[in-house]
């Protein structure tokens, strides 16, 4: 399984991928995970490659071979589309966060509808999941990542209790409950399951 996660620094991409990779390890598989984030802490583009299976060599996913891309932001979803395998799924949050050059008026923003069009023109299997909005209605924008995890879990082979167990393992005790709730809500957001 090749799963690529992308988003903007500060959105919780790294915790999301930590949870998934740990989960695959607990399930007894070989796992590799590799992250790319720029020099500042926030605001830059962030990606994480996670691969699991019987034996994994490269920690990087090749272009055109991701089984699933999980995007926490619309522009980032489009940026990494070329990693998706022809039969792969894109799960994306339609949220947009303007990059600094756009905010400063140096570069023009592309309208969200146009970005969604580009996605639909290029790939067959995509699903928009309002994870950030859902996290906000739960009163905690920071659980956007576990809402996403819930939505993605329906496409993966791992049993439910393994997710909860791993969340407990990796999330600070005081946030476990909120994250498990967010995970459940995320599952409800995805009508497709394998």
């Amino acid at each position: 399984m090749n799963l690529l996660v992308c988003g903007v620094g500060g959105q919780g991409v790294l915790l999301f991928s930590d949870i998934l990779a740990q989960l695959a390890l607990t399930a007894g598989l070989d796992v590799k995970k590799s992250e790319v984030h720029g020099m500042a802490q926030r605001g830059g583009s962030v990606t994480s490659h996670i691969r699991w299976g019987k034996k994994i060599h490269s920690p990087l996913i090749e272009e055109g071979t991701a089984d699933i891309i999980v995007a926490f932001e619309l522009l980032e979803a489009v940026r990494y589309l070329h990693f998706l395998a022809p039969a792969g799924w894109l799960i994306y949050d339609p949220l947009t966060i303007a990059p600094l050059p756009v905010q400063l008026g140096l570069v023009e923003q592309i309208a969200p509808q146009k970005l969604v069009k580009r996605i639909q023109n290029r790939i067959q299997k995509s699903l928009s999941v309002r994870a950030f909005d859902t996290a906000c209605t739960l009163g905690n924008p920071r659980v956007q990542n576990t809402v996403m995890l819930g939505a993605v879990s329906r496409l993966l082979e791992f049993p439910d209790d393994l997710y909860c167990q791993t969340i407990k393992q990796l999330v600070k005790p005081q946030f476990v409950e909120a994250n498990i709730l967010a995970f459940r809500r995320g599952q409800e957001l995805n009508p497709i399951s394998r």
Binding site: G38, S58, V78
Partner: protein, 572 residues
């Protein structure tokens, strides 16, 4: 055996601990930082942030000569700083094993160059080990200690970003205790006076010969036979990519790239039809293969810069390149300073003034970019002050532009101090601005001599920068709060006129560690004229919508800098 998912950095820490390491010193630098952060959580190992890499290595040499297994950790460019003791350490050798970790950064994710530190092994005459995943990172550091003690030599363990920051599965073992430290004086070995050093150099060459025999036999280098049509020699993460691209080929996987296992390579080459070297950045292995007179494919097809990927290898070997092209014309998302970052205020105060500004290494290097355009250079740690000094000495009477250096607090302690002393001693009109955000910001908030805390969490003396600079002989030392932009700008202007060396300490904690100073600000759309003046601050929480400024309330920390610069008073 317990299995865990560890990054290469965490695996190095685990390996050092399992090997009975007692002393570890480092200066934080991406991608090596997490090694010491992780090692500091284990018992029985003394860990410190040294003020720079030279200090870290010298301290580790001390610990080694006192009989303890010791570790010095740095990013690739850090080894340049530590190069002086490195070459001597090879002459002196060790008592407790001494391992030096260098984390190279091909692709320059967070560095000013992408030098290939395998060459340091060749030049300093010390063994170099290159792991290809986290399990090997752990195994190799344990092997490195054994080699170090067996051959009386420091060992260089070379990681790359892709090894340091990737996680893979590692089997965990217990710690093996080593003999307690004890010091013995060994004059002829440890005092590098010319007469002794000449002997030690000859001795070193003999040790290298013994290592040569070792490298031919060690299981660190292994052959994986496949189809003999194509034989690939490789190391590090390049091995993983090559395995992915050529699942059926034969491989000579090098774990020890120096001394180079020449015989082994000859044997391997003799049994394959086509020989290729696949390695990242420089042709280190390839040069040595060619020196054996063998015909080989390498950098004639593979790129000499940047990281490798399976796709790049595929393309280089003429396998069909993918039609998976990235979408074009998407706005980039470059790294940015954080909302409310104190550097924003400082850079705003420096904008549009007639000055030449030497920059340095840290988050604040981003001040060179739009909208600030406030820095002229980024060379290496500490070069802001020395650059400005050099410029001043040749332009003093010709160029009306003043000379300023901007350097962070951690960088100042690392190697700004000597530059400042040089300014004082040789009297140049350089204003040094210490962007003191009370931490090492770029690598993720490590402590340093100014913070009053050590890596192991102990309280310690916090160096007072103001007193320190005065003691260096600077009479004009002024402290400003960069959130107060006008005051900061006025102070800079005033000091530019006195034509003497001066220091401005621009002091405010990093926005990520300080509590929010205020409630989020709002733009009053009625009053806002849409002049865009506030955007020049470059705060990521400030944006522009429908011809008016707009503040993203979830991102804004309420520092008030934007309110100060709005000419209409529209930000409340």
């Amino acid at each position: 055996m317990n299995r865990a998912l560890l990054t290469g950095d965490e695996a190095v820490a685990r390996g050092a601990w399992e090997a009975g390491c007692r002393f570890a010193a480092a200066y934080p630098g991406t991608p090596s930082t997490e090694i010491l952060e992780s090692l500091a959580t284990y018992p029985d190992v003394y860990c410190e942030w040294s003020v720079n890499e030279k200090v870290a290595l010298e301290a580790a040499i001390g610990a080694s000569l006192a009989g303890a297994r010791s570790l010095a950790v740095m990013k690739h460019v850090g080894l340049n700083v530590a190069a002086d003791p490195l070459f001597s350490a090879a002459y002196i050798g060790v008592r407790g094993g001494l391992v030096i970790v260098t984390a190279d950064d091909p692709g320059m994710h967070s560095s000013q160059n992408e030098q290939d530190n395998r060459f340091y092994g060749l030049m300093a005459k010390i063994p170099v080990l290159c792991p290809a995943d986290s399990q090997e990172a752990k195994d190799f550091i344990k092997a490195a200690y054994i080699i170090s003690e067996q051959f009386d030599i420091p060992v260089l363990l070379r990681l790359t970003t892709r090894i340091a920051h990737s996680a893979s599965v590692v089997g965990l073992e217990d710690r093996t205790e080593t003999a307690p430290p004890n010091y013995e004086k060994q004059l002829q070995k440890t005092v590098l006076l010319p007469a002794f050093a000449r002997l030690r150099h000859r001795e070193l060459v003999l040790r290298l010969d013994r290592l040569q025999a070792f490298t031919e036999k060690t299981p660190l280098n292994r052959i994986e036979w496949g189809n003999p049509e194509l034989g690939i020699v490789c190391d590090g993460v390049a091995y993983q990519y090559a395995r992915e691209v050529f699942p059926d080929a034969s491989f000579l996987k090098l774990g020890m790239v120096y001394p180079f296992p020449a015989e082994l390579v000859r044997q391997f080459a003799g049994r394959v039809r086509q020989l290729a070297v696949i390695e990242e950045v420089d042709p280190f292995i390839e040069l040595q293969v060619r020196a054996l007179g063998l015909t080989v494919t390498g950098k004639d097809t593979l790129p000499r810069t940047g990281e490798l990927t399976p796709a790049i290898i595929r393309a280089a070997f003429g396998q069909q390149s993918s039609e998976h092209k990235a979408e074009i014309d998407l706005p980039n998302r470059p790294p940015a300073l954080c909302p409310g970052c104190p550097h924003l205020g400082l850079f705003y105060a420096l904008q549009r003034q007639n000055i030449i500004i030497g920059g340095d290494i840290g988050c604040y290097t981003l001040g060179a970019l739009s909208p600030h355009n406030a820095l002229d250079t980024c060379i290496d740690m500490g070069a802001s002050i020395t650059f400005a000094h050099g410029v001043d000495k040749v332009l003093a009477n010709q160029d009306p532009r003043s000379r300023i250096a901007v350097i962070g607090d951690s960088t100042f302690f690392h190697s700004g101090i000597t530059g400042l002393l040089n300014v004082v001693y040789n009297q140049s009109n350089v204003i040094t601005i210490i962007a003191d955000n009370r931490t090492t910001g770029m690598t993720g908030h490590q402590d340093h001599p100014g913070t009053g805390r050590t890596l192991m969490g102990k309280e310690t003396v916090a160096i007072d920068l103001e007193q320190f600079c005065r003691a260096c002989g600077i009479n004009e030392v002024v402290r400003v709060d960069p959130y107060l932009i006008k005051e900061t700008r006025n102070t800079i202007r005033r000091l530019l006129n006195i034509k003497k060396p001066a220091v401005i300490i621009s002091q405010r904690s990093c926005a990520l560690i300080s509590a929010r100073p205020g409630a989020p600000k709002k733009v009053d759309a009625e009053t806002c004229s849409g002049c865009r003046s506030c955007l020049a601050l470059g705060c990521p929480a400030l944006s522009f919508e429908k011809e008016k400024a707009f503040i993203i309330s979830t991102a804004c920390i309420g520092c008030g800098m934007c309110a100060e610069i709005c000419p209409k008073g529209a930000i409340l």
